[in-house]
């Protein structure tokens, strides 16, 4: 079992006007090669920062701590970051909004050319051939090559962006909210596409999302993030049917599902702001199951093989 990603107490913060905001407050995570992990969380929980950390696109004013290892390469160690030969070679990033990520002055073919040239020093013809091959994998035909980004629909743009990521031949693909900018009824197609590609090409896929429903179809593992920490992680079935953290449970209950007109139970309150430092469990204010021990940050509870939760009550799970 080869581990593609290993995180040990990873912390990532941003320096904004002489203050540090810790977006990721200590994450321990391992991802096996050839699996799909969905990192699910709401806005401000730090999942995009985590994606940036893996792909190596953290801005210069970011601070890190802890360790991040990709295969056998240590990319983050304490405050030092070293992503040489990692970006575009080991990891590839599938951005959130394809409309703003594609260069409006270049055709699709140009995009492929530049990506392949920087990675493999290929010629125009060669990159065109590769482009056609990869585009067929994402169900686009070669007529797309001569189009400019604004001539493509949102769904097609997203596929182009996925294809470009595949073109790098990187082993780890990180998709940052691949469905947020797509209409609800097209999301399934994109997600299924990602799942199929992952299985066929045996990549390690990380999907960052807030859309629990659609994305969990393709994952092997689900990690739930809240306020900068991973509060639960485990195999998909287990986390969805047997959630061991109150936040996961409440998230499942608050997501509207078409056809099942159950009572929507909202989660009271709001996610905590990044700036405050907490000693207690970060979910304390909104948790209906709290008691006195929750005033200290929970340790990781092992539920069973690869299913972990950061809640003092994870074993008893009074919410089930």
């Amino acid at each position: 079992m080869v581990l593609a990603i290993v995180m040990e107490n990873l912390k990532v913060g941003y320096i904004i006007e002489d203050e540090v905001f810790w977006a990721v407050k200590g994450v321990d995570l391992v991802v096996e090669e050839g699996t799909t992990l969905c990192i699910i969380g709401e806005s401000g929980c730090g999942k995009s920062t985590l994606a940036s950390a893996i792909t190596g696109i953290l801005p210069p004013y970011a601070l890190t701590d802890g360790k991040l290892k990709l295969y056998d390469r240590i990319v983050i160690s304490g405050q030092l970051r070293n992503y040489s030969d990692v970006r575009g070679k080991i990891t590839a990033y599938i951005p959130q909004n394809p409309g703003t990520s594609l260069n409006p002055f270049l055709t699709v073919e140009d995009h492929f050319y530049y990506v392949l040239k920087s990675n493999f020093k290929s010629s125009r013809d060669f990159s065109k051939k590769i482009a056609i091959e990869i585009l067929s994998k994402v169900n686009l035909n070669s007529s797309v090559l001569e189009k400019y980004p604004h001539e493509l629909s949102g769904g097609m743009q997203q596929r182009v962006v996925i294809a470009l990521a595949l073109a790098t031949n990187a082993q780890i693909l990180v998709a940052d909210e691949p469905t947020s900018f797509i209409d609800a009824y097209l999301r399934l197609q994109i997600i299924e596409l990602l799942g199929r590609l992952q299985r066929e090409l045996k990549k390690t896929l990380i999907v960052i999302t807030h859309d629990l429903l659609t994305t969990s179809i393709i994952c092997d593992y689900i990690a739930i993030m809240y306020a900068g920490k991973v509060v639960e992680i485990g195999p998909r079935e287990k986390v969805l049917r047997n959630p061991r953290h109150p936040y996961t449970k409440m998230l499942l209950e608050t997501t509207p599902i078409l056809g099942a007109k159950k009572q929507l139970k909202p989660i009271p309150g709001e996610p905590p702001s990044l700036s405050k430092e907490y000693q207690a469990c970060l979910f304390l204010d909104r948790c209906p199951y709290k008691n006195r021990e929750c005033h200290s940050d929970p340790q990781v509870q092992v539920i069973e093989n690869s299913h972990y939760s950061k809640c003092w009550k994870a074993r008893e799970a009074p919410w089930l």
Binding site: I15, E17, P60, Y61
Partner: protein
């Protein structure tokens, strides 16, 4: 993001550049207000020639005449310090009037659109294409000498600039939902314009105006230097330079009586610097893009 004024000021105070700029600006303002009371020879400052002028012509700086005397024997120090008052007056009147005029026209064009919009674009383009000096020439010929010529020429140029800026900012705001909500509620157009449009664009406009103070000052001095504004003898830095160069014998004045050029020039420079530093720091605080500090990347 609109910040509260206090936050902007607080943050600006941390920067040394701001403190220097503020110090200089406050000094100039102080001089402008109290000039007649602190200057040794206020009459000469206003341009009156002293009785024993012959003996006093073109004296170099000394303890009695701090900056020396000019061609007609007047105390240069008094003239230059009193010039601060003129400088400030010119600059503030021009900027305030142009700003108000431009703001009103730009905002109305953005809100009401249609004919007003078209006319505004047309006229601002024409006025921005006309060089200020030409306008000054025309005004000088029709209105004669005086500070009003300088002021008017500048207002006629700068209103278009502020009108354009206001128009662009206002256009960004006018499509926003809170304006739509106000329209739906039936609020009177001018109230909407004031509360929702002007209040939201006034901050960057004021910062722009402060930054422009330096340029306006230099342009005013230039107009006066060319003899198109005030008459020689008036306490104005540009015209003192004019006298120095044109009456003092051209280029020779640099060797014969450099103080005539150095002191007014120095004051022009420092005042412009002060305003610019102020404006720069404020603009940095307001513009979110610039705030991604480069100096944080240690």
């Amino acid at each position: 993001m609109i910040q509260r004024l206090s936050t902007t000021l607080n943050r600006s105070f941390k920067k040394t550049r701001f403190k220097i700029g503020l110090a200089i600006s406050l000094l100039v303002i102080f001089l402008a207000i109290f000039a007649p009371y602190i200057v040794p020879r206020p009459q000469e400052g206003l341009g009156y020639v002293p009785y024993d002028a012959e003996a006093k012509k073109l004296l170099p700086p000394s303890t009695e005449y701090l900056f020396g005397t000019d061609l007609l024997g007047r105390d240069l120090f008094s003239r230059v310090i009193m010039g601060a008052r003129t400088a400030l007056l010119q600059v503030s009147i021009v900027v305030i009037v142009s700003l108000l005029l431009g703001l009103l026209l730009g905002v109305m064009a953005a809100y009401f659109k249609g004919l007003i919009e078209v006319l505004l674009n047309y006229f601002t383009e024409i006025f921005m294409a006309m060089p200020t000096i030409v306008i000054a020439l025309v005004l000088r010929l029709t209105l004669g000498h005086g500070i009003h010529v300088t002021a008017l020429s500048l207002i006629l140029t700068w209103w278009a600039w502020y009108a354009r800026i206001s128009y662009v900012y206002a256009r960004g705001v006018v499509e926003l939902d809170y304006v739509i909500l106000a329209k739906l509620a039936g609020l009177h157009s001018f109230k909407i314009i004031y509360r929702h449009v002007i209040l939201n664009i006034i901050q960057p406009l004021i910062v722009q105006a402060i930054t422009d103070l330096g340029s306006v000052l230099l342009e005013a001095a230039a107009i006066n230097f060319l003899g198109l504004g005030v008459q020689p003898g008036y306490p104005e830095w540009g015209v003192i330079l004019y006298e120095g160069v044109f009456y003092g014998g051209g280029v020779e004045v640099f060797t014969r009586a450099p103080w005539l050029i150095v002191f007014p020039g120095l004051f022009l420079l420092l005042t412009t610097l002060g305003f610019s530093l102020l404006g720069d720091c404020l603009r940095e605080e307001i513009d979110p893009q610039l705030r991604r500090r480069w100096h944080l990347w240690f």
